[in-house]
């Protein structure tokens, strides 16, 4: 177990180093001068030069990489070119929206997908199964921004149950904050829930056809008992993988949704920063997202070991 853990940890660290290199180099080639963007149409050359110096845009690539990567290790993500505030602070603030949103969507999709998937699998071939499968097919096929648009039209403009967007802030109370995240979370959760329900179902069906289910039935367990006691935990492994992968989609895939609902989250920050050539923010956010994905997948791997004892000693 410890060896397995250490091995995974090392490959995690290596991945992060490679990722940081890739991100930094990729953004080095982005054309566009943040200083020019900030000063606009009538700026003069010398003004630009002054600003570029202030921003630390002069210096070799290697120097700048180590300055950036080294800073990040110390938790110092640098200063935003446009906002002129520490990037770490900005990200920290945005995370208070993006992270709860992603978690909210994840919880929603899990709450929908698990029962739906289990129900469909246990009633394989029935009308219930066909319905769940049909709905999830639609859920996967609907572009989520389109769905979000429709939801705003119905729930915010016509029914006025929710506000059309924006975030009231955590100061407004937990319930109010959650309410203002509900429509975006549903928009994010729908396709994820559909995928998850489908994976849950097919994984359960796979495990239900395993020999040990027959063994369990021969012991006198009913179909339902066999499903809950024996199939479910075994079926969880592919489901966990998907949940791990979804987390990254939820963090980053929120870009469009955050735009539709004008939420000041990470997605919108990075989208704006790309157009403003605020590369240091882009680099840091991408790095953070990659870090999050890698760590989440690491956690998922570790979760496998909890679910599946074989992984604790093998490898």
């Amino acid at each position: 177990m410890l060896r397995y853990f250490l091995k995974r940890l090392l490959s995690l660290a290596l991945s992060l180093v490679v990722a940081s290199l890739v991100i930094f180099l990729a953004l080095e080639v982005v054309p566009g001068d943040p200083a020019a963007y900030m000063l606009g149409i009538n700026a003069q050359e010398d003004t630009l030069a002054v600003l570029r110096d202030q921003l630390g845009l002069n210096g070799t690539v290697v120097e700048r990489y180590f300055a950036w990567a080294g800073g990040m290790l110390r938790g110092d993500f640098g200063i935003s070119y446009t906002y002129r505030t520490p990037v770490a602070e900005m990200i920290g603030e945005r995370l208070w929206i993006s992270l709860p949103l992603a978690l909210y969507a994840l919880v929603l999709s899990t709450l929908i997908a698990f029962p739906a998937g289990i129900w469909a699998a246990s009633k394989r071939g029935s009308a219930a199964d066909v319905t769940v499968m049909g709905v999830t097919q639609l859920g996967v096929a609907i572009p989520n921004f389109w769905f979000a648009m429709l939801m705003v039209l119905v729930f915010a403009i016509n029914l006025r149950w929710f506000s059309a967007g924006g975030f009231v802030g955590w100061d407004a109370g937990f319930a109010a904050a959650l309410k203002s995240l509900t429509l975006p979370a549903v928009a994010l959760a729908l396709p994820q829930a559909s995928i998850l329900a489908r994976v849950m179902r097919s994984s359960l069906l796979d495990t239900l056809s395993e020999d040990y289910i027959r063994t369990a039935r021969a012991k006198g367990l009913s179909r339902g008992q066999a499903l809950w006691r024996h199939a479910l935990r075994n079926a969880l492994i592919p489901v966990l993988t998907i949940i791990g992968m979804q987390f990254s989609f939820l963090l980053a895939g929120a870009i469009i949704i955050e735009n539709v609902f004008f939420l000041p989250g990470l997605g919108r920050l990075v989208f704006q920063s790309i157009s403003a050539r605020d590369l240091i923010v882009v680099e840091s956010v991408v790095m953070l997202l990659v870090f999050a994905v890698i760590v989440v997948n690491f956690a998922v791997d570790m979760a496998y070991a909890v679910v599946d004892p074989r992984l604790r000693t093998r490898r």
Partner: protein
């Protein structure tokens, strides 16, 4: 009700109006938080600001400003001539990051004669000096608070800055010690909603009380039909033009440019891209300006004429060029329409949609474009045609001389005459395709009073706004 939520499309990158081009900074802070010696009134005229009055010397080179009494910054310190000198000197300094440094070009010296009097000496007379001083880039700041201006701006306005949730909103609150007529609202929130759909939804769901510079003209009729809302469609200083690279063949041929002008159906563009909002223009001048000449007749829509001109210029089968479009919808939609119209006379355009950063890089700095569409929102900016290195690269010695003369002319009648001549010159040279003057739509709750209708500068002056019962 004494608070208001005002939505804007763009969020300021920071809060120092004197060191960035971003109009969004002025949209929030101009006149609300920061004031200059002079200021724009809602109709665009220049009126006294922190300078209660002034004298201009005979030769037009020396301006003596008498400052208002009892003006204090939001931190409690008094605003005096030293602050004015600091502000102007800072803006024109060698290492200044002021985006409109040209405004201060003619200043030779700034002298604080006494705490309430400032004397500015110009190297040569400048008819637009008072106008220049009204810009957001020329507001008066205090040396004590300059270090934190980008995040915690301290000005003299009727509102003071209270809070900024980046990416979301900026809050202002009433300045109880304001020297002039106090603001009627206690609290103001600026919310930033860039997506047009989100903007529509936010107004419809009454999440915001007003949207200044509403980005989707197609939605305005709906708001107009809804008694909950009022729609103010004002004028702007934004001449929306089909900028043409005058140095790039075949656009270096005036015949080609003329053909271009006749190929364009302005009304179709205004209808199609702006849903009818916008005033056709035939030259680079704001139609609401008293000196404006209607020259749209010179470039009337006539595709047959256009084809003929192309043939005469040696392009009977048309040619191919690029059309580079910045993000605003007037450019994106207008671009599609223009591309279709040009195709009808044989000109094929390859459209590329650019972000502002790319547009600045490729078009504005790199001059790597055939055509582009952009709205020039700076007030009174016909002077750009006198700059041969400006991105559309119009080089006409006569015009340059005209502008040089204009700068030193202060007789209003003469100035008016010269301005008309300037408008005609560029129109006759078909420098760019002149499309329309951008409309400035504001959608607000029907009970909100005192909002500016027009946008003589990028400002959301809320000092006079109040709620009707």
């Amino acid at each position: 009700k004494s608070d208001i939520v005002v939505a804007l499309q763009l969020e300021p990158p920071h809060l120092d109006p004197t060191s960035a081009a971003a109009g969004a900074i002025d949209s929030v802070l101009y006149s609300n938080v920061f004031e200059g010696l002079t200021r724009f009134a809602s109709d665009g005229s220049v009126i006294p600001g922190l300078a209660a009055s002034w004298e201009i010397s005979e030769d037009g080179k020396t301006y003596t400003f008498h400052l208002q009494d009892g003006v204090t910054f939001h931190d409690g310190s008094a605003m005096d001539s030293a602050d004015v000198k600091f502000s102007l000197d800072r803006a024109r300094a060698e290492d200044s990051a002021n985006a409109q440094k040209a405004l201060f070009d003619g200043i030779e010296s700034v002298e604080a004669l006494d705490p309430a009097t400032v004397q500015v000496t110009l190297s040569e007379p400048n008819g637009s000096f008072l106008f220049n001083m009204a810009w957001g880039d020329a507001v008066i700041v205090a040396p004590e608070t300059i270090a934190d201006i980008k995040t915690a701006p301290v000005g003299t306005g009727a509102f003071k800055f209270s809070n900024w949730v980046q990416g979301d909103k900026i809050d202002l609150e009433k300045n109880a010690d304001y020297w002039g007529a106090p603001a009627k609202l206690d609290k103001v929130s600026f919310k930033f909603i860039s997506d047009p759909t989100a903007a529509f939804a936010a107004v419809m769901a009454e999440d915001v009380d007003a949207f200044v510079g509403f980005p989707a003209p197609e939605n305005l009729p709906q708001f107009e039909a809804d008694p909950r809302f009022q729609v103010l469609v004002g004028s702007t200083e934004g001449e929306t033009i089909l900028s043409t690279n005058n140095k790039m063949p075949p656009f270096d041929n005036v015949k080609v440019r003329e053909a271009l002008a006749h190929a364009i159906d302005r009304q179709a563009i205004i209808d199609g891209a702006m849903f009818g909002y916008g005033t056709p223009i035939g030259t680079h001048f704001a139609p609401h300006n008293p000196d404006y000449v209607d020259l749209t007749g010179m470039s009337g829509y006539d595709s047959e004429l256009s084809k003929k001109l192309l043939a005469e210029a040696g392009f009977p089968d048309g040619f191919k060029t690029t059309l580079k479009l910045p993000p605003p919808s007037y450019a994106r939609r207008g671009g599609e329409i223009i591309a279709a119209q040009l195709r009808a006379v044989g000109i094929e355009t390859e459209i590329s949609n650019l972000e502002w950063a790319q547009w600045l890089e490729q078009v504005f700095k790199g001059k790597d474009f055939g055509l582009t569409i952009v709205s020039h929102t700076e007030p009174f900016d016909i002077g750009i045609y006198a700059r041969p290195d400006y991105y559309f690269q119009y080089d006409n010695a006569d015009f340059q001389k005209l502008m040089a003369d204009l700068a030193v002319t202060s007789d209003p009648a003469k100035r008016s005459e010269m301005l008309k001549q300037a408008q005609e010159t560029i129109s006759k040279d078909y420098v760019n395709g002149y499309l329309f003057e951008l409309a400035f739509p504001t959608v607000a709750n029907a009970k909100v009073m005192g909002l500016w209708k027009d946008a003589p500068t990028q400002a959301t002056d809320l000092t006079a706004v109040y709620w009707e019962d």
